[in-house]
Amino acid sequence: MHKNDLLKIRLSWFSLKTKQFINRYFMGVFIVLIFLPGVGISENFDTLLTAICKPFTTLSQIDTNFIERQVNLNLLIVVLMVWIQAQKSAIKGGKFTVFLQSLPIKESQKKIINIKMLLLGNHLLWPFIIASYFYIASEHHSTSLEIIRNSFLILLLLSTQYVLMFNRSAFNIFSVVGIGTIFTFQINTEYELYRLTFAFLIIGLFIYFLLLKELTFVIKHPMRLYQLFQQILSKNLYLQILFKSSLASSLFRLSIIIGLMVLFTYACHYWVDNNSELTPYYLTLEALLAYFISGFYVSILDQRNRMKLWLVTLPVKMYFWPVRDIFVIVLISTLMHGFFFFWALGKSELALLFNVFVFHLVLLCLCYPIRVFVIQKQTFITFVVLFIITAITIFNLP
């Protein structure tokens, strides 16, 4: 009887958290619009939309060759996997599941519910996996070995997610499936290389999440730097609130993701001759950046809102904090975007960087009050407002 109850409350939690996530995703989309990936800052909006839709249009075109199709599918799957991993708390069930540990519930029941939640949490991913699976099977007259490979790949994906989300002691399952996957690959053709890259990317993501906690801990405790940092922090309440939030881990996460995506992009450089084909990958890069920067932005504001009532009781002038928030976010996002923009296009005009900076400043100044006063309600309407402001700004900038 209670099996269904437990699944039901987990589903309700998933639904609640997903609604909250949507707000963050929208913020990510918004910042993608600001970043204008892979195209000039004053290029029109249509170009941007075309770039965003590129992976989907490539997949749907009849004349797309197999390798392109495979790369785009893999790209979408990797992006969605990162997205799903970000929804970990929604899938895992939050803090109430800790309390449930004290109740007489069979471990097998918990695992079954966890697996069901994981499968459900992957709802965005399943169409692509199934499409990929059947495409390879139908187009290439698959041998039984190929079918085994593909099954291994899907199992690898699911076991990776399970290990990352629920149980690190299930590392053995991951290792067995991972090794099985790699050993069944014979690198005879180019598309095998792509699939191998994809497998390694999954493993890379796994290692990243596995190490994240420990490395973040180390990063926070290199003794001298840490002490110096603490001294500076102890003198400034604003910096305390900023850095005692999840900034350190966010930045670390960001840098690892950037590293992975750089590797991915280099791999694409190596295999794809025409650079214009790389736009979707830069877009992915930018989307991930945008996602993490938006998360950082949200975490600062959440932190601030949680402490608001207490902060007003302190003899601290808070008038300029919003300005500082904008400055910090603009600085980080501009640096990141500047780096990738120049790196991607090989341009080095200082004026362009300044242009990007001003562009960010204008947009963030516009969105900050909306973010603070309106988006907290997490309604769809606020996204529409942001979207319109962004669109208008993009059309009106020189």
Binding site: S12, F96, Q101, S102, L103, P104
Partner: protein, 204 residues
């Protein structure tokens, strides 16, 4: 038979050793755990109910090993955490019904009487997200009436409670101590004045 037996319990968070080779056994009655902040009081309770994992043959509840006979052991206990972390969309009565279904029992008359006495009945259909901290605490405290647990672990049970509820719950503790094992972590020293209790002090 002792309700709780602990043999060589070790609790460690990364490099921080919280409890090392801790041995104890608790029978019926009130056992009041004291200690400084960070001395491992809450961690001890969490290890006794399975939230902090323990190895085999370290903790037994009513003769059942917490690890190998987890279902039987956990059926005999009730844990009330210091912070009520319940899903925001769950109603008060929904939370209690869920606990009852997990334990395979029905909500008792004693529970409903207690809810009436502490003025909780009007809030039973309200979601946890809309309750005050005190009301949320009251609902989680009511879980002690579900399934007749023989071992009750209470982490700061008096936090956030109004005067009437505190007094009524204190009276219930007095009554329950004759048939149950009650492990209480609390800094409110005056709450347990004039009550015969076993005091356990956890040192650094």
């Amino acid at each position: 038979m002792k309700n709780i037996k602990i043999k060589n319990l070790n609790i460690q968070y990364q490099d921080l050793i919280v409890l090392q080779n801790f041995n104890a056994s608790f029978g019926k009655g009130i056992h009041w755990i004291q200690g400084l902040n960070g001395s491992g009081k809450s961690s001890l309770l969490k290890s006794l109910c399975g939230i902090v994992p323990v190895t085999n043959n370290v903790v037994s509840i009513m003769g059942y090993d917490l690890n190998t006979q987890a279902i039987k052991a956990k059926s005999q206990l009730c844990f009330v955490a210091d912070k009520p972390e319940v899903y925001p969309f769950m109603s008060g009565i929904g939370f209690l019904k869920l606990l009852a279904r997990i334990k395979g029992v029905k909500l008792s008359d004693e529970l409903f009487k207690f809810m009436d006495a502490i003025n909780l009945t009007p809030y039973k259909d309200i979601n946890f997200s809309e309750m005050s901290f005190g009301t949320r605490r009251k609902f989680t405290l009511c879980s002690v009436f579900i399934g007749n647990p023989q071992v009750i672990l209470l982490d700061e049970p008096f936090n956030g409670l109004d005067k009437t509820t505190t007094e009524l719950f204190r009276l219930w503790l007095l009554k329950a101590r004759n048939e149950k094992c009650l492990l209480i972590v609390s800094h409110d020293t005056h709450m347990l004045d004039n009550i015969h209790k076993n005091i356990i002090v956890l040192d650094d």
